[in-house]
């Protein structure tokens, strides 16, 4: 159960009837979904709709010698076959996935489909549009492409070797980006430290595996020149900009609608060439064209993430004080840096967040990001954090073991104290409003830590090998305009917005730029609006995910919806309330200050007597304007935007605990229980916040234990099915206990931070520490994720 701490105090103006903040309301969308009435992109059918399929590269690196489409064009139902070269002529130019905030970063120009050379297995090469998907696939099979295979660079560790060819000759080599942080004097700290612990790490390539694959349904109206695209996206306005810019349709003539989105996790904040191709086909044909990726297409064309090797060390004093970190990571970007968010943020975030909970003064970190003949990697839930936290927290445990300190104790000695904020981490991050100490206290209590340690010891006597893992973390949320996307030049809104309106019958329409993927955005925004305005939830409808209907916003990414979008809703609702009270004051001949809104009616602030309903205000404000003073022009519609003024991010913090049992004969890890205590600031809906943490945790546990895009030397994906790429299922996952410590963010009035990635960001660190705790009696340890049975048996010397 959730533990909403008693300091979830409401602002005085929120602590009143219709205060839905802090209440676990159910989601309206859930009722549709359980009845099978969800409406996802593939559920939408338009008149004269056609279907797209793709010919994709079977080679990791190859030159296209020739393409023969003659037979395919004769197949039944075929409406269009388009090569990459033909599509290149229909777009305004190639993308280059670099941002100016990454000085010296390189990437090659990339067209939506390969033009004369393919750079990864699965890269789209030709588009086929036909009356049915089956016919499009039939025709695609009859296209003959002659290939000349080129040397493939699959192994990131060899990407920069002198003998390795540059994937993109014009770049000179395969280096995408290198970043170094060197704060304090790490060299001296290591030289004079009592102890140094160090290790090397391997993190496998993952992908998001949203259950609903990517998809678009594009409908271009040749009569009006308007392009409408239904797409499973987290960021409709970003997609609007990119389609407009790439396809030459003015952005005000592009409507992007995100219907129900069947899972996203960062996968659906990106641009994809196959989607552009399908939209281009609709523009060319003047007919609706649908493209839904199938599962193998998803595995080879969705963004990938995480592939990183690392070497890291940490200096400590004999009293257990962390003095310095020194980390060196190598991250595999894939064939191109993903446009427009790039493929280097995973690597650079690792540098920022490793050791982020601790007060050490010296921090040296280097990230090297290289190109390989694999799908582009990019932002996926908790970018960089699972890796940075695993590295940092593993080293902390090594230090604890070396010094004979308990895992909790060493963390208590090193975290930033709760009264130390604002502060700056050794990596240079500004942190505020955090609560590491209180989080540790709550975790220790919730886990029954001391008793768990006793149980572990008793069972070890009986040959049962259990491990307890702890991981503190910080998590970047709600990026601001001074960071990567804003100053970096990406066409992605860092602000978000709300337009809130009073309708003639007293109903409230609340249109928001942040989007819904099932996490409960619409419900939460409704709770904020209803609370700020003083109306029942049943009076409010929240609209999201349609660029024709909502104010310009960034959508949902980086745990920003409540912190940024929620604040905009709060401000806009208060503006509307102000206008309603002003109109009511005029009508009632009262000062607006003595009035309030409760349960959809204007009341006397003192005494609470109902004076006039919002329906009456709506009726007068829209229809009976003669009842208002001459010259008054009520809008009954208010828009507010919000973005961070100074900070790069709002950082949140927390701690995970994992309890596992290892079968030392088979190498299987059984997850017995998992705990998370985190501080996301103001909690609007406790149940939804908890479920974000739980779902995120399991996504992290999947990566730590099972998930891996396995590539061979030739750059072929060898496990591109859901039978081979293992995802966590119900039977393997533990119950997850979630608790919150609430420290309101000081950068907004609402005080919310972010919660969507706090599970994913540190679960891998906690579970790896638990596994190593269990293995410690054998003198064995693992630093490779996923921690497959083979990895564990290898560590035990059994294979």
């Amino acid at each position: 159960m959730s533990n909403t701490m008693s300091d979830n105090v409401l602002r005085p103006d929120l602590d009143r009837p219709n205060s839905y903040v802090g209440r676990s309301l159910s989601r309206a969308g859930a009722t549709r979904a359980v009845a099978g009435r969800g409406r996802y992109t593939d559920d939408i059918t338009l008149p004269r709709m056609l279907h797209a399929a793709f010919v994709r590269s079977p080679h990791a690196h190859a030159r296209i010698v020739s393409i023969d489409t003659a037979e395919a064009r004769q197949q039944p139902g075929v409406a269009l076959i388009m090569t990459g070269a033909e599509l290149a002529k229909r777009v305004t130019g190639p993308w280059v996935g670099t941002l100016t905030c990454f000085p010296g970063m390189k990437s090659a120009p990339q067209y939506p489909m390969a033009v004369d050379r393919t750079c990864w297995v699965g890269e789209p090469v030709l588009l086929v549009v036909a009356a049915t998907r089956a016919q499009a696939e039939d025709a695609a099979e009859r296209i003959a492409v002659e290939w000349e295979e080129l040397p493939a660079v699959a192994d990131k560790k060899r990407a920069l070797d002198p003998g390795t060819p540059a994937i993109h000759a014009e770049l000179g080599d395969n280096l995408a980006y290198r970043k170094t942080i060197d704060n304090g004097d790490a060299e001296a700290a290591f030289a004079s430290a009592d102890r140094v612990v160090e290790d090397t790490f391997e993190f496998g390539r993952h992908t998001a595996v949203s259950l609903e694959p990517r998809g678009v349904l594009a409908a271009f109206d040749k009569g009006t020149g308007k392009l409408t695209v239904y797409t499973s996206s987290q960021c409709p306005h970003m997609i609007q900009y990119l389609y407009a810019r790439t396809l030459g349709v003015p952005d005000h003539m592009v409507q992007i609608v995100a219907p129900d989105v069947g899972g996203s996790f960062g996968l659906k904040i990106h641009s994809y060439g196959d989607e552009i191709a399908a939209v281009a086909a609709s523009i060319q044909l003047g007919r609706p064209v649908k493209f839904i990726a199938d599962r193998i297409e998803s595995f080879v064309s969705d963004i990938h993430a995480r592939e990183t090797s690392a070497k890291a060390r940490m200096a400590i004093s004999k009293s257990g004080e962390i003095l310095a970190f020194d980390i060196d990571v190598l991250s595999g970007a894939g064939a191109y840096s993903q446009y427009p968010r790039t493929s280097v943020l995973e690597g650079t975030q690792i540098l920022n967040v490793t050791g982020g909970p601790y007060r050490h003064k010296h921090h040296r970190a280097r990230a090297t990001v290289v190109f390989q003949n694999k799908p582009p990697s990019s932002q996926y839930r908790a970018v960089g954090h699972p890796i940075g936290n695993t590295i940092g927290e593993h080293l902390v445990d090594l230090a604890a073991r070396a010094l004979g300190l308990d895992a909790i104790e060493i963390r208590r000695r090193n975290v930033f104290p709760d009264d130390a904020y604002p502060a700056t981490t050794a990596s240079g991050i500004t942190i505020k409003d955090m609560s590491h100490q209180r989080c540790i206290d709550v975790l220790v209590e919730r886990m029954g830590y001391a008793e768990l340690r006793r149980e572990q010891a008793a069972l070890r006597e009986k040959g049962i090998h259990r491990g307890i893992g702890i991981a503190c973390f910080i998590k970047s949320c709600a990026p601001g305009p001074h960071g990567y996307y804003g100053m970096g030049g990406a066409p992605i809104a860092l602000q978000d917005a709300c337009t809130i309106k009073l309708e003639p019958n007293g109903g409230i329409i609340c249109a928001v730029g942040v989007t819904e993927q099932g996490q409960g955005t619409e419900t939460v925004m409704g709770q904020i609006a209803a609370t700020a305005l003083g109306v029942p939830m049943s009076s409010i409808r929240v609209i999201s995910g349609d660029t024709d209907a909502v104010p310009y916003g960034g959508g949902t990414y980086g745990s920003r919806a409540v912190a940024i979008g929620g604040e905009a809703v709060y401000q806009a609702a208060r503006d509307l309330k102000g206008e309603i009270l002003s109109i009511a004051g005029t009508l009632l001949q009262a000062e607006p200050g003595v009035l309030d809104i409760v349960d959809g009616a204007v009341v006397d602030r003192a005494g609470g007597a109902r004076r006039i309903t919002l329906a009456e205000i709506g009726r007068i404000g829209h229809f009976q304007l003669a009842e208002l003073p001459r010259g008054s022009q009520p809008t009954l519609s208010h828009t507010r935007r919000f973005h961070l003024a100074d900070d790069l991010y709002i950082f949140t913090n927390g701690i995970h605990g994992a309890y596992v049992e290892i079968d030392v004969d088979t190498g299987f890890v059984r997850l017995l229980k998992h705990w998370v205590v985190e501080d996301c600031g103001r909690i609007i809906n406790p149940q939804l916040a908890d479920e974000q943490v739980r779902g995120g945790c399991v996504q992290g546990l999947g990566g730590a234990l099972y998930e891996h895009c396995l590539y061979d030397e030739a750059g072929q994906l060898t496990n591109g099915t859901m039978a081979d790429y293992l995802v966590p299922m119900a039977a393997e996952m533990p119950d997850i206990e979630v608790a919150h410590v609430l420290t309101l963010s000081s950068v907004s009035e609402l005080g919310a931070k972010g919660v969507g990635e706090s599970g994913t960001g540190a679960a891998p660190a906690a579970v790896m520490n638990a596994v190593n705790d269990a293995l410690s009696s054998f003198g064995a340890r693992v630093t490779t994720q996923p921690m497959t049975p083979e990895v564990i048996l290898t560590a035990l010397g059994k294979v």
């Binding site: 009845a35 099978g36 039944p76 479920e691 399991v698 859901m722 119900a730 599970g759």
Partner: protein
């Protein structure tokens, strides 16, 4: 389209008699979704792993992506829409909504279909047994904990009632 071999099928879907000509290679779930507009059954993997397309055929839960439409000739098919209309799982649906045992909702119809089977068996089940029963249905959003809670609560209420 004209070159594809078609066969006639006659079956009952959610209690309604349906007769159609279908391509012989068409999967049952594609038939339900595209020909009948029953879009509650979803395609997640199209190779029988994820469980999103689960439907009931002659009383048994099957993968709609592993069965051809022509194989459903003469059968009785129930989809999530039919299950919802009949009221058979109204308690489970309420339980899912109240416990937020779904987020994006894409796995939910299949998950409900599978959970309904467990509930219909009428036997007590531990959390671990519930987890095992649901282990053929992939959910990327919830982490499963809330789903297990919802099924457990619904099962307990039903057992208490009976």
């Amino acid at each position: 389209m004209s070159d594809e071999e078609h066969l006639p099928i006659s079956l009952t879907v959610n209690g309604e008699r349906v007769t159609r000509m279908v391509p012989v290679r068409q999967h049952l779930v594609d038939f339900l979704r595209t020909d009948l507009g029953l879009t509650g059954s979803h395609l997640g993997c199209e190779h029988g792993v994820c469980g999103a397309c689960s439907v009931r055929v002659d009383g048994a839960v099957v993968r709609g992506c592993l069965m051809l439409a022509v194989q459903a000739d003469g059968t009785e098919v129930v989809t999530i829409e039919g299950l919802a209309e009949s009221g058979e799982i109204a308690d489970l649906q309420e339980g899912f909504v109240a416990r937020n045992a779904l987020q994006c909702g894409f796995c939910t119809p299949g998950m409900l279909m599978t959970a309904a089977e467990l509930l219909a068996a009428g036997a007590p089940a531990t959390r671990e047994e519930i987890r095992t029963h649901l282990s053929g249905n992939y959910c990327r959003c919830t982490g499963f904990h809330a789903i297990v809670d919802a099924v457990e609560t619904t099962l307990a209420a039903r057992l208490k009632k009976s």
